[in-house]
Every structure is written in C-alpha cells, then in structure tokens.
C-alpha cells in the first residue's frame, strides 16, 4: 500500500515536549534495544545521566535541568530522528506501509511504516489552525520487542514489527 506522501515530505516529530517524551520512553528503553539501530556508543540512558538527567525526573520535561533537556533533545536530533527517518525511507522503498482504517471517519488515519531496522513509525496528518493546509508528521517511533523467550537479534525485532503491522492494518506483505 502506498502512503499518500513521499517519505521526504513527512515532517519530523514536532514540539520539544513530544520529542523529549518519545526519546525518554522509547529511545532510552532497554527493551527496545535502539543500540541495534543507531551508532550510539554506550547505553543512551547512562549517557543521559552523565549529562545531568536524574532517573525519577526523566519523565517530566519541566522537572529536568536545562543540561539534561538539551542532552535529550540532542539525542532526538542526532540519533532518534535519523533512525526513524531511515525507517521511513526503507519502508517506502519496500512498500511496507499500513493504514489504520475507520469506515466511520475517513478523514483521520494513522499510517504505520516499518523499516528494515525494525523501527515502526506512526505518521498522521495534522491540521493547522486558521485554515493552513494539513501536513504529515511523525507522531511516534518505536521498536516492537520480541517476547522474552524468543531471540533478541535485529532480525527478531524486524519480524515482531512486521507481524504487528499485519495485525493492525490491512498490510499483507510477508515477514
């Protein structure tokens, strides 16, 4: 299934709060193993701590120090965003894209892209105020993790992501 836009037309995740929340929740998640995808050296969460981020405050954009905030947002720009952008391109190339389908509400759909790197990216068209045109924007990017009793290789992550894409959308491609 082809998305209505090219990958390069899709905007990065917008807003510092959203970027901060997604980096902390997904990019720093041990389960999601982003070190398989990015060239990040060392555990991203440990590096964030060294930059001044304290564990219990990490969920709250407003509670962290400016140094921590800058570090987390830097991780978005330098590691997380390049990874999800790569996933968008890979998914477009392989036509590994599915759509949320709601017969009751045709104007509102999530598009889900799955990259070769096992990153799932959710894209939605966001309406802007005052009559400005809609634009597609990354709303989330994460890695589906395999069950504990299964393998944890990049191939296992990829397989898990494609299976979820098949479950949630009308995508019919093989794993």
């Amino acid at each position: 299934m082809n998305a209505p836009w090219k990958a390069k037309q899709i905007l990065d995740m917008q807003g510092e709060r959203s970027r901060f929340a997604h980096v902390v929740k997904h990019f720093y998640s041990k389960k999601e193993r982003w070190q398989q995808v990015t060239l990040h050296h060392g555990d991203p969460r440990s590096l964030a701590k060294k930059a001044g981020c304290i564990n219990r405050e990490l969920r709250h954009y407003d509670l962290v120090t400016p140094d921590c905030r800058e570090h987390v947002l830097g991780d978005h720009d330098q590691a997380y965003a390049p990874a999800y952008r790569e996933a968008l391109s890979q998914a477009e190339h392989e036509d590994r894209v599915g759509k949320e389908e709601d017969e009751r509400n045709q104007s509102k759909h999530a598009w889900i892209f799955v990259g070769d790197n096992g990153v799932s990216v959710i894209v939605r068209e966001v309406r802007r105020p005052h009559g400005k045109p809609k634009r597609p924007e990354v709303k989330s990017a994460y890695r589906v993790w395999p069950r504990k009793s299964q393998g944890q290789t990049p191939e296992d992550f990829f397989k898990a992501a494609v299976r979820k894409l098949r479950d949630k959308t009308s995508y019919e491609g093989d794993v």
Binding site: Q14, G15, R17, S18, A21, H22, K25, H26, E100, E101, D102, E103, R104, N105, S107, K108, A110, I112, S120, I122, R124, E125, V126, R127, R128, P129, K134, K139, S140, Y142, V144, P146, R147, K148, S149, Q150, G151, D156, K159, A160, R163, K164, R166, D167, K168, T169, S170, E172, D174
Partner: protein, 311 residues
Amino acid sequence: MNPDEWLDKAMEELNSLAATMQDDPADAWRALTLAARLLSSPNPKHHPSETITQQFPRLLEVAGPPDPEEVLDVIADELNSVTDAWGPLLDGLIDADDALGVLRISDQEDVARRLSERVAGLVSLYPERTLSLGSFADMRLKTVRDDSVVASIWRTIERAPAQMLADALPVQAQELAAEIATAPSELPWLNAAYSRLQRSFAAFVDAASDMEAPAEPMGVSLDFSATLGRPSIAPLELAWRKIRSEIAPKSMDNVQVPSTRHLRSVTSSSPTSTWALDPPLPNHMAELCFKRTLEVAIVMLPEDAKTSELR
C-alpha cells in the same frame, strides 16, 4: 479493515508457518496466536484444520507459556503514557488478546478469564487513551463469539466514548449512569441516533486531535473547543421524540422518570445555550450526555417496550 479478510490473512500466514513453527519459538508462538484467533471465530469456515490443532502440544512446548503479568505491566504503562494509541498501546492490547487465546488453547480457562477481567478493568479507567482504537475494536468484535474471553476487552474499548461521557456527567447523572447494564439496544431508531452521535463525536475528536495542541488526553484540554463547529442536534431531537412517545405512556407507573427530566432539559435548551449545570458543558458534551441518558432510559424501559419496531 474487513473482519473476514483479517481472518483470511491469519489463515494464510498460519499455513506459511508450517515448515518452521515446530522449531522456532517466535514462529511457534505466532502459529498458536493465529490459530487461537481462527478458533474464536463464530464461523467454522475459519477454524484451522486438525493437522494444525494436533500440533498444539508441541507448539506450546517450543513457544513457552504466556506471561500475564508482563502483558498487564505493558498495558498499564502505555495507558499512562501520551504516545499515539496505535503504537505500543494497541500492540500491548493485541498481545493480551494473543495471550488469552493461547491460555484457552492450553486449557487455562480460569487464568484467561482473570486476565481478561484485569485488562478490561485497566482499560476502563482510561477511556480517553483508547478512544481512537474504536475502529479496531469494532473489527475484532466481529471476528469473535460474544462469549469469547477476548470480547470483554474490545467491548470496553468500543464503549470508551460512553465511558468518557459517564465520567464527565454531573454527580446526579452519574448515579443514574451507574445503574446502566450492558443491555444491547434492540431499538433500530436508537441505533440510528447513536450512529449519528458517534459520527458527530468522531468528527469532533478528529478535528480536536488534529489541531496543534498540547498532547493531553481528550476531556482534559478543551480550550480549543470553542473554535470548532457544533454538531447538529437534529438526530437528538428525533431520538427524544421517539423516547417521549414510547417511555411516557408505558413506564410512568413502573419506572422512575428522572432520566426523562434530563432529556427534556437538554432538548429544550437552545443550541446556543449550554447544559444547565455547574460547571456548564460544551455543546458536544451535552450531546454525549444525551446519548448516555438515552441508554439509561432504554434500560429503564419495560421489557416489552424494548422490542418495539421503528414507527
């Protein structure tokens, strides 16, 4: 997504796993979950062959058991999050669905029922988080029997708009809402009015969540609602006329009528006025209150009135 096509896709994938599922844990688990989905279909044509079902013991051994606590942890974490519901939250709910299926296949019906109750209970506390999953829930409910353990989870999600409404009702209306059973409505005119209300509500959610607003759950940040158009109340007036004609003559002696007072107070309000309560509700919420009140009224109808045909 067409329910039959979803199940056909499951059957096709299950057949493709024949060569690897006996040795690979991920493929064994996937085969079990696909088989469980097919077995729970009310249509026997979807059920897997005996060739597949005979392999269940081996597949269970290779895949390893389900982990209900892990399933619950993930769902609880995602319900508390603000990330897109079609991401890890829906993934977690599908994992719960899968776990329930495998528990049933392995004859752990009691464990499955307890897990189902716990997941549905968790989900019911966060209707705003599952609002956008209604389409998937609708589809899934069409692929399972009504008494299936997975049905209660998706039914809870399907009712998220009504749940949000109940949570937002003023205290006196909440007492009425608390009496509502999950009695399905057999009245076609109510179903038609409800469909129109759902579309209006969906349009509101669509417009509201597309706006560049802070990522807060629906029902919490309504500051931008003033810029959106009000849905038409014409279908509500129709529904009210029907209720008034059916409830009033039949039930005045047998049932309480505080719900009809709610109906009257809403429909007698002009479109420009707000719900006459403190704090006042925006008009779209007032319409949702009407829907909930309709449900209360229907439950309170005498049994013979519940099968009335559209006139």
